[in-house]
Symmetry: C2
Subunit: 337 residues, 2 copies
């Protein structure tokens, strides 16, 4: 039997904590016998929630943490001051090797900063990118970086391309993933200073499948598997995906309610439409990994329910069993010539 | 009677040139007696098209231009070499004061570069931004800059905010337009170096209604009227609007075709849905103005049909009659204290 995968879960983070968090963590343990979850947070509240479920006691452990980092707190300060917070204590478990991974629906800033400061970067990794999966017509693509590391340098983007390729290949089973850099035109001479400097570096990388520039218009069509950009642009892409998607779906719904005729039609199309739009739901993929750390940190949506927490925990199993960090280390330290 | 508004139109630019371009220009002249269009391009081909329509001869003039700048040509070189191209000849008309404005569905690069090089900037304007209108739940918002000027400086963004405010107030009749800067969080301390430097400058501008940062997620919801960003980010926003919108609408359509039940429903919802989605169509607003020039340059979609050309020409009338350039000059040279 293979080794257990130990996942620390921030029981206090997110809009539906601790209820949905505890529920999702228990569900993950019940679904996969190789998972052990460490629920980090207010002991009595977690116990209260755990009473509702049945599970194997050896698969669920509580780690008491008296403090909570709020999403509005400045992250660097919060990590430094709140040593007893669920985020800091959970990250310590990963740092000490007691856990393999950490899943949080809490403060994004604190999770990202804490991941770097407490868990630490893999040797050779300059910046750990946050890399969510986004839906496209052809399945999921990895958007890398959407993190807190704005004003990136070309060498960072090259590492993002490599780490993203490892992830798509090993976790998502995409053979020879197509890597593209976000640009404002398809031609090599287009772009801002960062993209112009990065383009030839990516082109000369022997161990990635670089296909060139991608215009934002072509991202939803699924032209690339690994979409490389610096964090500011990545964040705009991720948030606009949500924004345009949300607004359009709202308009489609209200458009169908404008007449009796369309209301009847709406009843008929609803099930089919729901099924189709599920394929374009950003939240279906669970959390976004922060890649390049000594361990794994997964950030899920603040609004995560049990299903997202469960999927994020199970994602950690694949991540460990596929030895993603070994593969990243190997790819990062490989000399490009 | 007020003076005629003279608009040079690139008869050779765009996917449907010269047919749809000539048609749209004639329609604009027929709709507004104060418009005179100058159709710039291959004389014989324009004449051929003009035969199809009736119009007042004093409102339509042909200016022969033997060359065409293709969209794939490097713009700076094309502007320099092709002196007899429709774009260069039309821009000369604006420079010489023979025309007030220029409308093109042709090469974006050549139109932007030519606008700056041939027509020239208004005194005090550092960079002329390309500013398309984008649809939101609450109507149109101005996205400024989406042009070729990447790697902008804070002072450029402040000017974009001012020029955008003038445009929304005078052309779109939005009283005291709300100005926001695209950012990756709502707090003042968030952002990349450019945004962090620009934020306090915008905050201290006495003559704009600055409401702070806007996350990309909130753009489609219509939280701001003037959305300030540098051109790379603006281009990503504009293109992703198209991309996500296009993909979702395609998926809604195919989702409705999956069963007999939903096909019947689709027939019933179609008219209402079409009407609703029209409100979210990027192309409804016609062309995007390149602001801050001595004259007006309007860039319309390469796929423009007659209706977009007509709307773009008519937009030039409002622009001139509202004395937008005088207002921009006044606002730009106003000292902020």
């Amino acid at each position: 039997m293979s080794e257990m995968v130990k996942v620390a879960v921030d029981a206090m983070g997110g809009d539906h904590a601790p209820g949905e968090i505890v529920k999702g963590a228990v569900e993950a343990a019940n679904e996969n016998a190789r998972v052990k979850v460490f629920l980090v947070g207010a002991e009595n509240r977690i116990q209260e929630e755990l009473k509702k479920y049945s599970y194997k006691p050896e698969q669920v452990e509580i780690v008491n943490a008296a403090e909570v980092i709020e999403t509005a707190e400045p992250p660097v300060m919060a990590i430094r001051k709140k040593k007893n917070s669920s985020i800091v204590k959970a990250l310590q478990l990963v740092k000490n090797g007691e856990c393999d991974a950490f899943v949080s629906a809490g403060s994004t800033g604190a999770t990202l900063v804490g991941g770097q400061v407490i868990v630490g970067r893999l040797k050779g990794v300059e910046r750990p990118p946050l890399a969510p999966l986004i839906p496209t017509e052809k399945g999921a693509a990895l958007l890398i970086d959407c993190g807190a590391n704005v004003d990136a340098r070309p060498s960072h983007l090259v590492q993002f391309a490599k780490m993203g390729s490892v992830y798509m290949e090993s976790v998502m089973n995409v053979k020879n993933p197509k890597v593209a850099i976000v640009n404002i035109g398809a031609e090599e001479e287009k772009g801002n200073a960062l993209v112009k400097e990065t383009f030839p570096l990516l082109k000369s990388c022997p161990d990635i499948n670089f296909i060139g520039s991608i215009e934002a218009r072509d991202i939803p069509a699924g032209h690339a598997d690994v979409i490389v950009c610096e964090a500011f642009v990545g964040n705009v892409i991720l948030k606009l995906y949500e924004g345009v998607g949300g607004t359009l779906i709202k308009m489609v719904k209200s458009g169908m309610m404008t007449s009796l005729r369309s209301k009847i039609g709406a009843l008929l199309v609803k099930p089919a439409l729901k099924e189709t739009l599920k394929a374009f739901d950003l939240e279906q993929y669970g959390g976004a990994p922060l890649l390049g750390l000594k361990g794994l940190v997964v950030k899920t949506h603040g609004s995560s329910k049990a299903i997202e927490i469960k999927n994020s925990v199970l994602q950690c199993v694949t991540f460990k069993e596929q030895k993603i960090n070994d593969k990243i280390k190997e790819k990062i330290t490989l000399r490009d010539e």
